[in-house]
């Protein structure tokens, strides 16, 4: 195990996969000479050259198509889209092109590429650089969507995503890059599609992903001081969703709070809530509660932004309400 930052864990995974498989290439804005705005691609261009590590124009549609086309002819591109907010520019290529190829072409081609991007509020980046659009991509059959919370999962899931024969949307969080954690040595792979119980508990299940997992774990400590023993399920993958781990936890605790940093209405929490109703209704002692970002464009000013987006305190309050319901 080595202690490292989330950004370093991603960087290490990219270095290792590019060294292991010469088909892997990295493309995106600022990824080459500058090493990425969050330094995730640091050192790649120097080590692997400017053919395999390409700085691109600010042309998100074309770059998404570029990743699709290159994957179609045997490359394994890792595309960085600097902010998840810019994913809207990529949506035709992702939704109308990438997602349909395997199924509609009846298996004639696979598209092994990764679209890395980062979202989330908390940095004062305002309405066009702070969103969490998980639900938008998790809605689409044919895409895989992962959202690691820890450096170990960031590294292991990125390796799995690069080796996966399908398009994977890899959701990072801008406030996680500087968090630290232990990362296993060697060929560390975290399988896509497996959630895990980040904290065991008996009184309530809190389902979360990405940064919300860390906030849920902090909330669980506060709740523990009040005598509430919360279990935290870290999804790690949003699509395909590990329904089994969620259901197993809720059947044990009989209470469920789902947390997602995206907007509440039509958000990923709604999906989680429906899944729990379908899989564990008879075990519930009260209604599933969901917590998401307020249904407003994310405002800039600090008190407004803090009020809009869930944090540990909001999760703590929501957990208490869930148990009272």
């Amino acid at each position: 195990m080595t202690r490292m930052r989330y950004a370093e864990a991603l960087n290490r995974a990219l270095h290792e996969e590019m060294a292991r498989d010469e088909r892997v290439c990295v493309i995106g804005e600022d990824v080459g000479i500058y090493g990425g705005v969050f330094k995730v691609t640091k050192g790649l261009r120097e080590r692997f050259g400017d053919l395999r590590v390409r700085d691109t124009p600010i042309s998100e549609q074309a770059m998404t198509g570029l990743a699709i086309g290159a994957a179609m002819v045997g490359r394994r591109p890792v595309l960085e889209i600097m902010y998840i907010d810019f994913l809207t520019l990529c949506l035709d290529q992702l939704v109308n092109q990438a997602s349909i190829v395997h199924y509609i072409w009846a298996g004639q081609a696979s598209l092994p590429f990764v679209l890395r991007t980062q979202g989330g509020a908390g940095a004062g980046a305002a309405a066009q650089h702070s969103k969490s659009l998980d639900a938008l991509v998790a809605h689409v059959p044919g895409l895989k969507v992962v959202a690691p919370a820890t450096p170990a999962d960031a590294s292991g899931l990125l390796v799995a995503a690069i080796r996966d024969p399908n398009p994977v949307v890899f959701l990072e969080h801008k406030l996680l890059y500087n968090t630290t954690g232990e990362v296993p040595e060697g060929d560390h792979v975290v399988p896509i599609g497996q959630a895990h119980v980040a904290r065991e508990g008996t009184d309530i299940t809190i389902v979360a992903s990405s940064k919300m997992t860390l906030d849920a774990l902090a909330a669980a400590e506060t709740l523990a001081a009040e005598g509430i023993d919360a279990e935290v399920v870290d999804l790690r993958t949003l699509r395909p969703l590990d329904r089994e781990t969620i259901a197993r936890s809720v059947r044990k605790t009989n209470r469920a709070l789902v947390v997602n940093e995206g907007w509440t209405t039509g958000g990923f929490g709604a999906e989680l809530s429906a899944v729990i109703m379908e899989d564990a209704f008879d075990w519930l002692d009260g209604p599933v509660r969901r917590l998401g970002t307020a249904d407003r464009p994310i405002p800039y000013s600090l008190p407004l932004e803090q009020a809009a987006v869930p944090d540990a305190a909001a999760i703590t309050r929501a957990a208490r309400l869930t148990l009272a319901g």
Binding site: C25, L51, R52, R54, T56, P57, S59, Q61, A62, M63, T64, G65, L66, A67, I68, G69, A70, A71, M72, V73, G74, R75, P77, D92, Q93, N96, Q97, I100, V101, H102, Y103, I104, W105, A106, G107, Q108, A109, S110, L111, P112, P141, G142, K144, P165, N166, P240
Partner: protein, 325 residues
């Protein structure tokens, strides 16, 4: 003419043009009889462009086509029976009936693939060309699109990147004067689209798109240039769509005089006249008979083929292993 096609080559392309024309005329009849599903987009009047652009390609070269791709499918060497089976939603179709006429794809033939999103295939061809450049191969990616798609952002983004990186790619624009139901004069800032190539660091060539040899020659030059590593070419083939946008088009916006003018430049009649200087009448008639028989047999077989079982809906969402052309 350098590497001028032989009489045999021209006869083969003439036969392909006849096949496309006969297929589309028959599809129109079947559409009126309610025997097709969804809109069908025909390229009647554009066959020289579609065949001239694809016939010079090698099998390992790849094409992204459009919603109006029948000529590209035939020119790239797809099996007509399987194309028609796809159009009729049969399990013997290239995509087992999952794609339909706009989404025909044949990985084995490098037809990757048809596309129902105007301009959607252009950045994918860009990525294919990027993959070929990384491979150091002599393969070329050809993006075929219309004058309508030339107004999409994807086209401009992809032209910039292809010119910048000198990718082995050809932008082949079938300028048929209409985007949807609207004449190009209401859609384009310039009447001749090839002039835009200069702004993207590549040569732009304009040809009479109803002159098979002119299209073929321009395409050969563009392919040679791409294979030499000199980068992309933009080829604009001036042609005309003798039918509506699709079978659901009510018409009424293409002036009769304009239709008459273009009918006089019919690419099939012109190719026949050219061939008549090389072959005797009985040889020409033999080609025509062979085309008609091929089409008749393909329709009979495709329409007798089985539909997919509804259970096939549950075919896997994801690829489990890499599959590529």
């Amino acid at each position: 003419m350098r590497n001028a096609p032989s009489a045999e080559d021209i006869a083969r392309m003439y036969r392909q043009m006849l096949v496309v024309r006969a297929v589309e005329e028959q599809l129109a009849v079947l559409h009126r009889q309610g025997k097709t599903r969804g809109p069908i987009h025909t390229c009647i009047g554009q066959e020289a462009a579609g065949i001239g652009a694809t016939a010079p390609l090698e099998r390992e070269d790849v094409v992204t086509s459009t919603h109006r791709g029948h000529a590209h499918f035939v020119g790239k060497g797809l099996d007509l029976r399987r194309v028609l089976a796809e159009i009729f939603g049969r399990v013997t179709g290239y995509c087992r009936g999952r794609g339909g006429h706009m989404l025909v794809a044949s990985a084995a033939d490098g037809l990757l693939g048809g596309n129902g999103i105007v301009g959607g295939g252009i950045p994918i061809a860009l990525g294919q060309a990027f993959g070929f450049q990384l491979d150091g191969s002599r393969r070329v990616a050809v993006a075929i699109f219309g004058d309508g798609a030339a107004q999409e952002g994807t086209c401009h983004e992809a032209m910039n990147v292809a010119g910048l990186w000198k990718l082995p790619m050809v932008f082949f624009c079938e300028h048929n004067l209409y985007g949807l139901t609207v004449h190009a004069r209401y859609q384009s800032s310039v009447p001749d689209l090839h002039v835009r190539a200069a702004g993207y660091g590549m040569p732009g060539v304009m040809v009479d798109g109803n002159d098979l040899l002119a299209v073929h020659g321009a395409m050969r030059d563009a392919l040679d240039r791409a294979r030499r590593g000199d980068g992309p070419t933009f080829v604009e083939a001036k042609t005309y769509r003798m039918t509506g946008f699709s079978t659901s088009d009510m018409g009424g916006y293409q002036p009769e005089e304009e239709m008459r003018e273009w009918a006089a430049r019919d690419p099939i009649a012109r190719t026949r006249a050219l061939l008549a200087t090389m072959l005797d009448e009985s040889s020409l008639e033999a080609v025509e008979r062979a085309a008609a028989e091929e089409v008749e047999a393909a329709f009979a077989q495709a329409m007798a083929d089985p539909f997919p079982d509804a259970a096939e809906l549950d075919a896997p969402e994801y690829a489990v292993a890499e599959a590529r052309p």
